[in-house]
C-alpha cells in the first residue's frame, strides 16, 4: 500500500473515492460504517469507491494520512479533498459536500 497524500492527484474523469478510518469495533466507528453505507446506498446510486482502514490494525496509516481521530472519513476525489470527523450521523453535511459538491 503506497503512501496516500491527503490531497488526491487530479484525474480527468474523477470517480467518488472515499476512505473511512476507524478504530476496530469501537462504537462510533461501527456507527460511522453503518451511517456511511446507508448514505451511499441512498444518495450515491451512481457508484463510488470506499476503503475502510482500521487504525488499530494498521496505525501507521494514521500518521501517513494525518488522521488524528477516528472515525474520520476522507473524500479523496474528486477534488477538493475533504474530511469528516465523527460517526457521520449528520448526513446533511455529507450530502452537501458529496452529492452536490
Amino acid at each position: 500500500m503506497g503512501r496516500i497524500s491527503a490531497v488526491a492527484r487530479p484525474k480527468q474523469k474523477q470517480a467518488l473515492r472515499l476512505r473511512l478510518y476507524i478504530a476496530g469495533n469501537a462504537p462510533n466507528s461501527l456507527r460511522a460504517i453503518e451511517n456511511l453505507r446507508a448514505f451511499c446506498a441512498d444518495k450515491l446510486p451512481d457508484g463510488h469507491e470506499l476503503e475502510i482502514v482500521d487504525l488499530l490494525k494498521d496505525p501507521s496509516r494514521a500518521l501517513a494520512d494525518g488522521i488524528i481521530v477516528t472515525p474520520t472519513l476522507l473524500k479523496l476525489s474528486p477534488l477538493p479533498a475533504m474530511r469528516f470527523v465523527g460517526n457521520l450521523s449528520d448526513t446533511s453535511k455529507l450530502e452537501l459536500s458529496l452529492v452536490s459538491g
Binding site: 476507524i22 478504530a23 476496530g24 469501537a26 462504537p27 462510533n28 466507528s29 487504525l55 488499530l56 496505525p59 501507521s60 494514521a62 500518521l63 488522521i67 488524528i68 481521530v69 477516528t70 472515525p71 477538493p80 475533504m82 474530511r83 469528516f84 470527523v85 465523527g86 460517526n87 450521523s89 453535511k93
Partner: protein, 558 residues
C-alpha cells in the same frame, strides 16, 4: 526558501474541518485520538469499556479458579480475594478486603508465626509454605500456599499475591495411609513373632502331653505338667489373635448363616455381658449367606460385644442387627471397596462413644483405653484382621457420649452342595497304626515332637528336614518296596514348599496322601486355594491327640 502561499479557500476548509472535529469530540462521536509522535492510537470511551470488560474477565478468571487467590498490600491487608477463597474462608469479599490477613483469617495461636511467614514472603525469602487458616465458623483448614511478590511499575514492593490449595483432606488421607502402613508393619512383626512362637509352643505343648501320658502311672509331675500345658495353651490363644490381626492365619471360609450363628451365640453372649446390659436383636429375615469362617466370625462378634459391654459400665443395651446390603466403590471414603452384595452385621451400644484420638487408633494392636490388666488391646485389631482377611470391611459410627455402632460387611457366599466330608468324621479311638509316614519339617524341635507322636502311635516314620531329603527318602522307600502312604509336611520351607513337594511326589505315587502343617498362612493364593479346597491341614500349635487324629483322617481319605 519562499513560504508557500495558502489559498484562502484552503484555510477556510481547514478551519471548518477543525471546527467539525471539535464538534465531534464534544458530541462524543469519536473513539480514539492518535498520538502522532509515537504513532499509537489512544482509545477513549471504548478504551474504558474495553478496560472494564478486561477487568470483568480477569475477575471472572479469578472467580472461576478453584484455588484460593489472596493479594495483600504492603501492610498485610487484603486487597484481593477471589470467590473460591471466600468460600473456603466463609466470608464475603467485601467483608474481607481491607482487613488484616493474619488477624482476620489465621488461628490466633498462629498469629505470630503467620506474621513471620507474611514478612518472609514479602522479603522474597519463601515462595511455598503451609499454613492454617480459620474459617468464619471457626474451623481450621490447612492450606498450601504459593506466593509471589507484587511490584508496581517503578519496581517498588507493592504487596504479595498467594494462591492456596486446601490440603486438609489430603493430609488426613495421608495420615490414614500412614496409619494403615503402620498397622501393616506391626502385623508383619506380629506374624513373624507369632510364627516362631507357635513352633516353640507346639514343642512345649506336645512334649508336655507326651510326658503326661508317659508319666501316667507315676502321677508325681502330672499336676506341674498340666500347669505347663495350660499356660502354653493360653499363650497359643494369644498368638492366634496376633495371627488373626496380621491376617495370616488359615481361614476356612464357607457359606455361613450369620443369623443362625448369632442365635446360637445368644446364650453365651448374655452370660458374657451380664444382667445390667440388655441384648436386642434385629435380624433380617431371609438374610443371604455370608462367605466367612464360622469360628473367626464368632470371635469377631464376641470381641465387638465385649467392647460394647466395656463401653457401658452403668448398663445399657447392645443391639445386633443383620441386613443384606449393596456396597459400591464409594461406600468407604478411605478404602477402595469391591462393589457387590454384602451381609452387614452391626453391633450398636448405648455407651460412652469415643473421641477422635481413640477412633483413629482403634484398630491398632495393643492400643487400649481399658485400665492395665483389663484388656490386651488385641480385641479390635483381631477383629479388623479377621474382617480384612475375609475380604470384608469394617466401619463405625461413634459420638462421644452417644454410643458406638460397629458395622461389619462380609461378602455374600454362594450356598454349597453339602458334601460327605470324610475329614470331619471324628476318630473316636485310634487303633494301632502300621502305615509309613514321610515327615518333612525344617524346625528341628517340631520335627522331633512330630516324630515322637507318630512313633508313639505306631507309624513307621521317615524324617526329612527339607524337600530334597524328602524326595531321596521317598525314592528309597519305593525301591525297597516300602512306599510312603502319607506325606506330613510343613507348608513353608526354604527352597521347596509343602504343596510343591506333594505335587512332585504324587507324580511318582498317585495314591500318596498329604497332611499340611503350618503356623501361619503367608503362602501364595494357590497354596491358600488348596487349603480352601479342603486338603487336610493342621495348625500349629497342635496337641498330640489333635495331630494324631489329623494323621489318621488324612490316611483314611480316598
Amino acid at each position: 526558501m519562499a513560504r508557500r502561499a495558502v489559498p484562502f479557500r484552503e484555510l477556510e476548509q481547514q478551519l471548518s474541518e477543525a471546527q467539525s472535529t471539535i464538534a465531534a469530540l464534544l458530541s462524543d462521536q469519536i473513539d480514539a485520538v492518535y498520538d502522532l509522535r509515537s504513532n499509537t492510537p489512544v482509545l477513549l470511551g471504548h478504551a474504558q469499556q474495553a478496560l472494564r470488560e478486561s477487568e470483568e474477565r480477569a475477575q471472572h478468571y479469578l472467580d472461576s479458579a478453584t484455588v484460593m487467590l489472596v493479594a495483600l498490600d504492603t501492610d498485610g491487608k487484603i486487597v484481593l480475594v477471589n470467590r473460591y477463597a471466600c468460600s473456603v474462608l466463609g466470608g464475603a469479599a467485601a467483608d474481607l478486603i481491607g482487613r488484616d490477613w493474619v488477624r482476620a483469617c489465621t488461628p490466633q495461636r498462629l498469629w505470630d508465626a503467620s506474621r513471620v511467614i507474611v514478612r518472609d514472603i514479602a522479603a522474597g525469602d519463601i515462595s511455598v509454605n503451609e499454613n492454617s487458616i480459620v474459617t468464619a465458623t471457626g474451623e481450621e483448614r490447612l492450606i498450601e500456599w504459593r506466593s509471589t511478590v507484587r511490584r508496581d511499575s517503578s519496581g517498588a514492593f507493592d504487596g504479595t499475591l498467594s494462591s492456596g490449595i486446601d490440603i486438609t483432606e489430603r493430609r488426613r488421607l495421608e495420615a490414614r495411609h500412614q496409619q494403615a502402613s503402620k498397622m501393616e508393619a506391626v502385623g508383619q512383626l506380629a506374624s513373624g513373632v507369632a510364627h516362631d512362637f507357635n513352633n516353640l509352643l507346639t514343642v512345649i505343648i506336645g512334649f508336655a502331653e507326651l510326658a503326661i501320658v508317659d508319666d501316667a502311672p507315676d502321677a508325681r509331675h502330672v499336676e506341674e505338667l498340666k500347669e505347663i500345658l495350660s499356660a502354653a495353651r493360653s499363650a497359643s490363644g494369644l498368638t492366634r489373635q496376633l495371627l488373626a490381626f496380621s491376617r495370616q492365619q488359615v481361614l476356612h471360609a464357607a457359606p455361613l448363616d450369620v443369623n443362625e450363628l448369632i442365635e446360637q451365640m445368644t446364650g453365651m453372649l448374655r452370660r458374657l455381658i451380664g444382667e445390667h446390659i440388655e441384648i436386642k436383636m434385629s435380624l433380617a429375615p431371609g438374610l443371604s449367606l455370608a462367605h466367612a469362617d464360622r469360628g473367626q466370625l464368632e470371635q469377631v462378634i464376641m470381641n465387638l460385644v465385649v467392647n460394647a459391654r466395656d463401653a457401658m459400665p452403668d448398663g445399657g443395651s447392645v443391639t445386633i442387627t443383620t441386613l443384606d446390603v449393596e456396597l459400591d466403590e464409594r461406600s468407604f471414603p478411605d478404602e477402595a471397596v469391591l462393589p457387590g452384595s454384602y451381609v452387614m452385621l452391626a453391633i450398636a451400644d448405648t455407651g460412652t462413644g469415643m473421641g477422635e484420638e481413640t477412633h483413629r487408633r482403634l484398630f491398632e494392636p495393643f492400643f487400649t483405653t481399658k485400665e492395665a490388666g483389663k484388656g490386651t488391646g488385641l480385641g479390635l485389631s483381631t477383629t479388623y484382621g479377621i474382617v480384612k482377611q475375609s475380604k470384608g470391611y469394617i466401619g463405625l459410627d461413634t459420638l462421644l457420649g452417644k454410643g458406638t455402632t460397629f458395622k461389619v460387611y462380609l461378602p455374600q457366599g454362594v450356598p454349597s452342595i453339602p458334601a460327605e466330608d470324610e475329614a470331619v468324621k471324628p476318630v473316636a479311638r485310634l487303633g494301632h497304626a502300621w502305615e509309613t509316614v514321610l515327615l518333612v519339617e525344617d524346625e528341628a524341635a517340631v520335627r522331633r515332637l512330630s516324630l515322637r507322636i507318630l512313633e508313639n502311635a505306631g507309624y513307621h516314620v521317615l524324617v526329612a528336614a527339607n524337600g530334597d531329603e524328602a524326595e531321596r527318602l521317598f525314592a528309597d522307600g519305593m525301591k525297597l518296596g516300602a512306599p510312603v502312604d502319607l506325606l506330613v509336611t510343613d507348608i513353608i520351607m526354604p527352597h521347596c514348599g509343602g504343596p510343591e513337594l506333594f505335587r512332585r511326589l504324587q507324580t511318582k505315587s498317585p495314591n500318596l496322601r498329604v497332611l499340611y502343617m503350618s503356623g501361619y498362612t503367608n503362602q501364595s493364593s494357590a497354596q491358600q486355594a488348596e487349603i480352601d479346597a479342603g486338603l487336610p491341614f493342621v495348625q500349629k500349635p497342635f496337641t498330640a491327640l489333635e495331630f494324631e487324629q489329623r494323621v489318621r483322617e488324612s490316611l483314611q481319605r480316598r
